[in-house]
Symmetry: C2
Subunit: 714 residues, 2 copies
């Protein structure tokens, strides 16, 4: 009976190889711990060693949404957190790590993180060490971004803006990622996703990226050569992971070597462009010369299995070469023997073969048996049409050959594992090289995209002003024929930082709002932006409340979702945030919806002061620009063309035409009686409204006696 | 060179056989002619001979929509109509029939139609005669329904109500058809589709159907037996078509016979149930005895091809039997000869075979050749291992056998075509039988559905009152778990025939409206209805304007579509119509949308007086019940449950809660400041509104000085 021991537990988060693992996406496993007011979250991609620690503020739901947004399928938790999350976890596997197994946390892995976050990192590493029973040497120090370093975009907004996933589902087409991803390596594609997931909020860090993109745009041929070279670089991060796990094959090492062989050319290309920034970047690339030397031992095309031989190059080890010679000589001797026996017996079909059970044998067909000198042979096996024989000298050579082969394989495997283990000590250098190369891949992608879609380099201002001239929604523009796309400006200043957007359905209000948000996101990941020119602030958070796709067939009200998203935005936004509110209140009846919309606008205007785009059907809100100084009316224009309404998709100053609806009704040939009555009613409503607005203005919203408990958290 | 002549043109509308033809749907070809204010439309299913002539009022678009709704893919037109329709025809093939070919219209085919409609019928028949070059004897007289006999439902409403097709596409699942179709024959399924396409508007015709359904519900075992018998009835309509075309095979005639053989059992089952109505219905079934007698000539399992023999039964024709005997005797003689030759020569493997080139032969293997008396044989063919011989007496018998077989096949085919032609004269009787059987199939389906889903028999009143107690949306109920479905009443009287329905999004307003319309449709096709009890008027037209699926990605405004559909409804409705208006005005800004909604409500109330369900977000319209006497407020209830909004799907009297939206915002934890301000604004709006309503009431809408040109067409 063979004693079986658990070698490694494969769980959704630790499953790092195979068809279901998309090499172009990170595959994280996470752990979380409760903190006051939120959670610590640590996550690792075991295949690449990348790891991150972060805070998640809010309830369990916020934690689960962040995990969903990162595509994480396994969360390591304590007993008590399991109970808290279990009901809502859905597709997520909650694995309990009781911390009974002693695993000492290596302090260098968490040196960048606040002490509060080390709990989840320790729990995660303990779980991995316990279940994987393998080296964790390739795990990189947990990356931590200090407060204010990143642009925060909540789960709903990421989905509404279709950054990484489309609203309709998991597909990539139609997303910002789909537009931007012209990377040529899997590492680059993963890096781009990470950047999109966490845009920056630090001006100088953004500008460093931007400058690289700018330099690459200026050097077209360098760009082409660099991309060609990168295409031949294998996935160094995953190779590192396999080396650390001891699961790397000879082929993996050969891939590592051929990747490293490309580095000098990449460095030369960067330094040869005559551009200071590119030269500086070249200086960050580590040739890993020691690793290259080590890997010279590996043959050119090693087989997948390291135990079948052919992994170590000829001439690397004298003993190995001797074994190989012995085996080769023996085989030559056998080939000669075959010739000799054919001549001796005159049997042309005589052959010497080999099988695993009987070893080498001489085979003679039954028809020719009478020609053979059977006294020299010893019968070994009888087939239907042939007999197989051995001779003492054949067996002697066989022993020699097989022994040489066995020794050769053993020695080769020993040499291979020694090399693999030696490479292990360079893992962190290889990982650092991989990270630099993948950033280069993303910069090249940004440069290509900027050139192809006529993007422009945004300038960052220290004020909060937004000035986008000739801006476009890059994804919509790509999907439409370019000629048909209508660019639009977006100008927000300290004196006018809220746009109230009116205009009919389908006219393009939400495309306009989305394009402003996408421009900010693109700018803050270091990309150029789809506009003729753009002056932008560094935004700290983006919140959107944009027409949800009806993914809630259940009993939950869409209006409830609308209110929850609004609540989240309003209680988290600062004056450096961007708010997009689309048709707030349309899910309820007119007056209470309108009342909520107006009171939110007033609150944002007075209490938050964030840059805000607010679209609405409530034309009746447009007079608010009288009482709210920084509110400006704009509208999306429509026109009549041969009896049909045609949208111009052009954003223009001022409120939309009040009687647009009645005008359309007229085009649709409704009875005159209905039209004239509707006009009469409209005039009355409008007259009432004006009167009402005057009254309302007199009510002081933020007077001092108002001492309601403040719920604004920020 | 063979002279090729066009025998038959296969066009989308005349393609009646093959995989692409769904036997459970009619496959019509149509012709249209322009009339003043509309078109005449004639259409025929060539495979079954069913034909219809009707008026289509309106523009070319209305004609095209009707064709789409009938699934028609080919329209026969004049040159001028071609030019009119060509731009919008899309998938529809427009075939021009210049009427140069002389085809005399058989007056009996159009005897039911107004003279105006005969133009399109004549053009259609001319086209078919010219292109098909085959008998049109099975074409049935054009059915025509007089004004007021049918419930008219326009194209958009049919789609909105999902009668035959779902909104999302061509699929059947989720439609009323999907719920109702438990027919067991293709004929029944086609009949059900025709009824759903054209529900009745004639009380006594409806009641005739209803009574059949009622009788069948009362006789469960009769129902089971009838369905079992019908399952064995083939598609008599398509068989008739093939007989008329002369393309019927022996197998078709056998299917016709075996179908007719089921009729006596069906008649017995109907008359034996002890129910007067079922007995009467049995009396309408034609046993077609003459056809049965004719078909006795056909054998039990005839082959597909009528020229291979085996079509005519043994004993039917003496000459044929003699030929068959001769052939059979000859073959016996040959079998004996084989035995004799084997004995004579002692060659056990000697055999007598047949092929098309050499006829009968004696075959002897080369190994046995020495045993044969070769002088008696004449060598005919040499094979690798055998020789083939003939003898004079073998050839003599061969001639006899082959001649007998040839004569037999010729005679058989002649007999077959004679029978087929004789059956032709009974085509109209078979068609009439088929129509009665398919109606029976639909009645059985209605009875099963009524029993399975607890439907009830509606009573028709001569008033316009609607009283549905415990009504359900049958399709939604089937798709949900039955326990979860909440039934609702709908009571409309002369004093209160407009419901203004308020309530939040997703609460079930449009399901409620649809269920009322589906109940009316079910009642007017003769089915039972999904309710505890129902008293219904006979409705002349149903118009719906229900939240369109966004199938308009193009530039056309959804609001424009909304207005076009409203215009159509308002200008065509009568006081006997049912109007369903869902959220009119939501595609434009608040006040003009509200103004249009209010003026439409007033217009319908004052000028049309139709039974109307009007759902709205404009809570501000609810005070209209003060000024419009027959308008009643109802709402769909929602409640709070552990901090979430739960919809009860229950329609209750009175308007919805005014501050529902603010209440939800409170549940969503929006800042108190926003909530209190919203409440303050709401109070002001409401106060203004009340004042405004009073003012508006004083404006007389339909005062006598109003002499605007009336656009109400009716």
């Amino acid at each position: 009976v063979v004693k079986r021991e658990v070698v490694r537990l494969i769980t959704p988060g630790t499953h790092t190889e195979g068809k279901s693992v998309d090499s172009k996406s990170n595959h994280f496993i996470a752990a979380a711990e409760e903190l006051s007011g939120g959670f610590s979250l640590s996550y690792i991609d075991i295949s690449t060693g990348e790891s991150t620690a972060t805070y998640i503020m809010g309830q369990g739901k916020a934690l689960l949404q962040e995990l969903q947004s990162l595509g994480i399928r396994e969360l390591v938790v304590s007993d008590s957190l399991f109970l808290l999350l279990n009901e809502d976890a859905q597709d997520l596997l909650l694995s309990i790590e009781p911390m009974e197994f002693l695993y000492e946390l290596d302090g260098s892995l968490v040196k960048e993180c606040p002490a509060e976050l080390t709990g989840s990192s320790h729990r995660l590493l303990t779980y991995i060490a316990r279940t994987q029973k393998q080296s964790l040497e390739h795990i990189q120090p947990f990356a931590y971004n200090e407060e204010g370093q990143l642009l925060s975009i909540d789960f709903h907004s990421k989905r509404n803006l279709e950054l990484l996933q489309s609203i309709r589902g998991a597909e990539t087409k139609g997303t910002l990622l789909w537009l931007l991803d012209e990377t040529v390596t899997a590492m680059g594609s993963r890096k781009l996703k990470q950047w999109l997931h966490q845009p920056l909020a630090n001006k100088s860090r953004i500008e460093v990226r931007q400058q690289m993109v700018e330099s690459l745009i200026e050097h077209y041929f360098t760009r082409v050569e660099l991309q060609n070279a990168l295409k031949e670089v294998y996935d160094l991060e995953r190779l590192s992971g396999r080396i650390a796990f001891g699961s790397a094959s000879g082929r993996d090492l050969a891939q590592l070597r051929s990747s490293l062989e490309k580095i000098p050319a990449i460095i030369d290309e960067l330094s040869g462009a005559g551009n200071g920034r590119l030269s500086d970047f070249a200086g960050r690339l580590d040739r890993c010369g020691e690793v290259c030397e080590l890997l010279e031992a590996i043959s050119d095309n090693p087989p997948l299995s390291a135990k079948e031989g052919g992994v170590i190059r000829e001439g690397y080890n004298r003993q190995l070469d001797e074994y190989r010679d012995a085996s080769r000589n023996g085989k030559d001797w056998i080939a000669q023997l075959e010739q000799q026996e054919r001549q001796k017996t005159g049997i042309k079909t005589l052959k010497i073969g080999y099988n695993r059970i009987f070893g080498y044998y001489i085979e003679i067909s039954k028809a020719n048996m009478h020609l053979a000198d059977l006294e020299r042979y010893e019968r070994k096996q009888t087939l239907a049409n042939a007999e197989r024989y051995i001779t003492p000298e054949l067996k002697e050579k066989e022993t020699l050959i097989l022994r040489a082969e066995e020794e050769s394989l053993n020695l080769e495997y020993k040499l291979f594992t020694v090399i693999r283990d030696e490479v292990k000590q360079y893992i962190s250098r290889i990982q650092s090289l991989a990270s630099t190369l993948s950033a280069l891949d993303v910069f090249l992608s940004f440069a290509n995209v900027a050139e192809k879609y006529r993007f422009t380099k945004p300038d960052f201002t220290d004020s909060r002003d937004i000035s986008i001239v000739g801006g476009r929604h890059p994804v919509v523009e790509k999907m439409l024929n370019r000629q048909h796309y209508v660019p639009n400006d977006c100008i927000l200043t300290e004196d006018s930082n809220m746009l109230l957007i009116t205009g009919p359905n389908m006219s393009g209000k939400s495309t306009y709002m989305r394009q402003v948000a996408l421009t900010i996101v693109l700018a803050q990941i270091g990309s150029y932006v789809p506009a003729d020119s753009a002056k932008l602030p560094v935004v700290d958070q983006i919140f959107t409340r944009i027409g949800a796709a009806d993914d809630l067939v259940s009993g939950q009200s869409t209006f409830m979702v609308e209110m929850l998203e609004s609540q989240y935005a309003i209680t988290h936004a600062t004056e450096r945030s961007l708010l997009l509110f689309d048709e707030i209140g349309r899910g309820t009846s007119t007056y209470d919806g309108m009342a909520l919309a107006q009171s939110m606008i007033e609150y944002i205007h007075e209490k938050i002061g964030a840059n805000t785009l607010f679209s609405t059907h409530y034309h009746e809100l447009t007079p608010l620009d009288q009482s709210l100084g920084r509110l400006t009316n704009v509208h999306v224009a429509a026109m009549e063309q041969s009896g049909k309404v045609v949208f111009l998709h052009k954003v223009k100053p001022g409120p939309a035409d009040k009687s647009y609806g009645i005008h359309v009704a007229e085009l649709a040939n409704l009875p005159q009686k209905i039209l004239s009555r509707a006009r009469e009613l409209l005039t009355t409503f409008e007259a009432e409204k004006t009167q009402q607005t005057r009254q309302i203005e007199q009510l002081s919203f933020f007077d001092d006696r108002d001492t309601d408990n403040e719920e604004v958290i920020q």
